[in-house]
């Protein structure tokens, strides 16, 4: 019968696990293992057992262990709260002044003084989709400006456009938002560039009208694009596109490209287009970090 004390057991384990490599203790244990039958037996048993334990731990790690949905939801909510919570030292928001500022923004929007913004109520979503052209002040116009939503208190604003100089809009005044859900490919995406933004695409703020002829069913729109339905996220994405290639956005379609969720963007007057329209398909990560980040396709038509 081979019985060790805790200290012996730990020492032998350290030796087997390589923790004593290069130390005098390793030489001592090696000498014992080579000269003492009990130590030799113990060493052999532990080496065998250690391999078995490693295998079981590795097998445990191979079992998928994704975050449960309820935990993921809870984490998302906590982080969202953290995003909208004022940071320490942030100025206290004067709600009366904020409401007044929102009212002025709505008035500017209504009388057309706001720079080049287009709104299309996307059929089936029940969520107004807004493209803002007022990026130079980091002041993104939204259609739910008086909604008291979480986005109001967000300390962060949309990134400024890169390369536009901020002096003119990166979005055409008659730009359209479409949610076709269509799966484009290199041979078909150019057709979108031949579609002029429909007049019906221009809708008043919060009008609730929808150009259903141009909008797909909600279930057609990839869920992965949900983030880009947020006006701030979408503005960051479009700013990144225009910052990279110049020009003005004429049309945005929530769709797919070769099966992958994609925001297909038609841009006029780009540096690459040579008079033609730039067609670019970007993935759900577009705009993160102020970059396109997720370009799936680029061409001219």
């Amino acid at each position: 019968m081979t019985t060790f004390s805790d200290a012996d057991f730990d020492l032998l384990a350290d030796f087997v696990g390589g923790a004593l490599d290069g130390t005098p203790e390793a030489d001592d244990v090696r000498r014992l293992v080579s000269t003492d039958e009990a130590w030799a037996e113990a060493y052999g048993a532990l080496v065998t057992a250690e391999v078995a334990v490693r295998d079981r731990l590795t097998a445990l790690g191979a079992e998928p262990l994704p975050v449960p949905a309820d935990v993921a939801h809870r984490l998302n909510a906590a982080l969202q709260d953290a995003v909208v919570a004022p940071r320490p030292g942030a100025p206290v928001l004067d709600l009366a002044r904020a409401r007044e500022a929102r009212r002025h923004r709505r008035q500017r929007w209504a009388i057309g003084l706001a720079t080049a913004a287009a709104v299309l109520i996307c059929g089936g979503f029940g969520v107004p989709l807004v493209v803002s052209g007022q990026h130079d002040k980091g002041d993104t116009v939204t259609s739910n400006a008086d909604g008291g939503g979480k986005g109001e208190a967000a300390p962060q604003s949309a990134p400024s456009p890169v390369g536009s100089g901020g002096t003119r809009s990166s979005i055409r005044s008659d730009a359209a938002l479409v949610a076709s859900g269509q799966d484009y490919g290199p041979g078909t995406v150019g057709q979108l560039a031949k579609v002029s933004p429909p007049a019906a695409a221009m809708a008043g703020e919060g009008s609730g009208n929808a150009d259903t002829s141009k909008s797909g069913k909600p279930e057609d729109v990839p869920a992965e694009l949900r983030r880009l339905r947020d006006p701030v996220a979408r503005a960051a994405c479009l700013n990144a596109v225009v910052g990279e290639y110049g020009g003005q956005v004429a049309l945005v379609d929530y769709a797919r490209f070769e099966g992958q969720p994609a925001l297909v963007v038609i841009v006029d007057g780009t540096r690459l287009g040579a008079g033609k329209r730039l067609v670019i398909a970007v993935g759900p990560d577009c705009g993160i970090g102020g970059a396109i980040a997720d370009e799936l396709y680029r061409g001219v038509a």
Partner: protein, 210 residues
């Protein structure tokens, strides 16, 4: 249609963290999306309790969210996140003064018969019986597949210490899982401690790892 080859430029974790620190409201969520499954696995396997793991992960991610500006880039973002999560788990374990480890004063080193494994503990249960230092090292290295060097950075200790914690933890798991015979408390072999005059082995080595 004159297609140009598409270019995918996914921002790396460091770029996202800097974007978050600069005010991008979506950057941190993207980092979390990328790593949350692994972080969850570490938290759950270290704590062994679903609710505790969820609390620890939430605390850790909020802490990272707020401390992103302090990230110096000395390690990978994922390593930095793991360190915060593991520390949150260890804090919880220490606060609740968790169950003591299984004492093994006299350990029989004889290989166990196969039948012993019928009553052996589930490996996850057995992990929970280990000292928290050994458990966290084993979870990172053997379960999650991190290198010893990465685990050392995450846990803030020397690589040798990680090796020792893993080795001792595996040896204890071997007993608990039935790969070594359970202690019988009889007999004995010359200990390197008692035979130190002959071997020169250190007598009071608490934890290996130079």
């Amino acid at each position: 249609m004159e297609a140009e080859p598409g270019v995918r430029e996914t921002p790396d974790d460091t770029a996202l963290l800097h974007a978050h620190a600069a005010g991008d409201p979506y950057a941190f969520a993207e980092i979390v999306r990328r790593h949350r499954d692994r972080l969850w696995a570490v938290a759950l396997r270290t704590l062994g309790d679903r609710e505790e793991a969820a609390d620890a992960l939430q605390d850790a991610l909020l802490s990272a969210f707020r401390a992103a500006g302090n990230f110096r880039g000395e390690s990978a973002v994922t390593t930095w996140l793991h360190r915060i999560v593991v520390n949150a788990c260890l804090d919880r374990i220490r606060r609740r003064q968790s169950r003591p480890t299984v004492p093994l004063p006299e350990t029989d080193i004889t290989p166990a018969p196969v039948t012993d494994r019928d009553t052996a503990m589930d490996v996850q249960q057995a992990l929970q019986q280990l000292a928290v230092e050994q458990r966290s090292a084993l979870v990172l290295v053997d379960v999650q597949g991190y290198s010893v060097a990465e685990a050392a950075v995450i846990l803030g200790v020397a690589e040798g210490t990680i090796k020792s914690r893993c080795a001792r933890g595996r040896a204890r798991l071997a007993v608990m899982l039935g790969h070594l015979r359970n202690p019988v408390g009889s007999g004995g072999v010359p200990s390197p401690n008692s035979a130190e005059a002959a071997t020169g082995a250190a007598a009071n080595r608490k934890e290996g790892g130079a």
